[in-house]
Symmetry: C2
Subunit: 167 residues, 2 copies
DNA sequence: TCATCTCACTTGAACCTTCACGTGGCGCCG
DNA sequence: CGGCGCCACGTGAAGGTTCAAGTGAGATGA
């Protein structure tokens, strides 16, 4: 697919060194569209079927696999790739829905633990099947095992660069 | 090559059929993290160096390659993967900054054309080098040509499923 | 020719994220 | 033991996106 179309007029004269080769550009634009629309699609599915956003689902899922259904806010923030502030607001909302609760770490009051409540676990379990099926249909079962593995590797490779200091 | 890593402990007991196989899950989580953090990184770079968001940059870039620097709002929305409403708000802001203007299509007043202004083109040209360099460092030059091509293909394949009706 | 329908936008409110700052617990150094 | 600084979080305002209506231009049909 895709690509490698020569534009009827070649406007990419002076853009050439400022920009990307046609094939590179096409691939990059596909990635951009994926980054924009895949989260949107997942959010829409979860919102429709479970009234959860993807980050909320991820948070519940992370907690459900943690010992004692408990995680520090900062760890949960890291695991869900969200800022502490965003997480704080989000957990407040989950708390008001009865899915989690917070308490200061008994051992060190500077930390706050987020704790999954039974209602939250129930919510997660009721949301999981449709969500997993959706992820399978869009991604996991849509790519060969090998390609999925490579996709994950590429993602890690890019993430590494994101985390590494400016240069 | 390469190996198939077994996780040291297998926690996926009863989750197994509700969820994904360990390798699948790992790949999927990598993709999720990529979808979350790559846009964030790009936005941060553009914001810092040019006070533009990624969508704004994309919109200017699309317009700059369109004939007469002109595109219908609906076409621009499609090309930037954003809703018409989002685009409308966004273009209003770009308009107030003097980068674009809007006018009703003379041939058919139902359509609205977004038109890139010289100041917008100048903005784009001044933002492009750093942005392109950043994209190269994170993605394009970080993957082999073959892997980049395949990444683009995988993205297209997933996008196709997103666009196809529920089943 | 005029009511009605359709379709591309536009708009304003609600919601969420971001940003900058504020707060409280605990270690540390005197 | 007492002030100081650091660090994990919390909070409120600002800004952007989403959602649900609203608007206006052209097609359609009587």
């Amino acid at each position: 697919m895709t690509t490698e179309d020569e534009p009827p007029q070649a406007p990419a004269d002076e853009h050439a060194d400022l920009w990307l080769a046609p094939g590179e550009l096409a691939s990059w634009l596909s990635v951009v569209r994926l980054m924009t629309r895949l989260p949107w699609a997942i959010d829409a599915q979860l919102q429709r079927d479970a009234e959860l956003s993807m980050v909320e689902y991820m948070a519940l899922a992370m907690l459900s696999e943690a010992p004692e259904w408990t995680l520090r806010m900062s760890v949960l923030a890291e695991n869900t790739s969200s800022s502490l502030s965003r997480l704080s607001h989000m957990v407040k909302r989950l708390e008001s829905r009865g899915y989690v609760r917070r308490e200061a770490d008994p051992a060190d009051g500077r930390f706050t633990n987020a704790i999954l409540l039974p209602a939250g676990m129930a919510k997660l379990e009721s949301a999981a099947p449709a969500h997993v099926a959706f992820v399978r249909r869009l991604v996991v079962d849509n790519l060969s095992a090998e390609r999925l593995r490579r996709l994950g590797q590429d993602a890690e490779r890019i993430l590494q660069r994101i985390d590494s200091p400016a240069r």
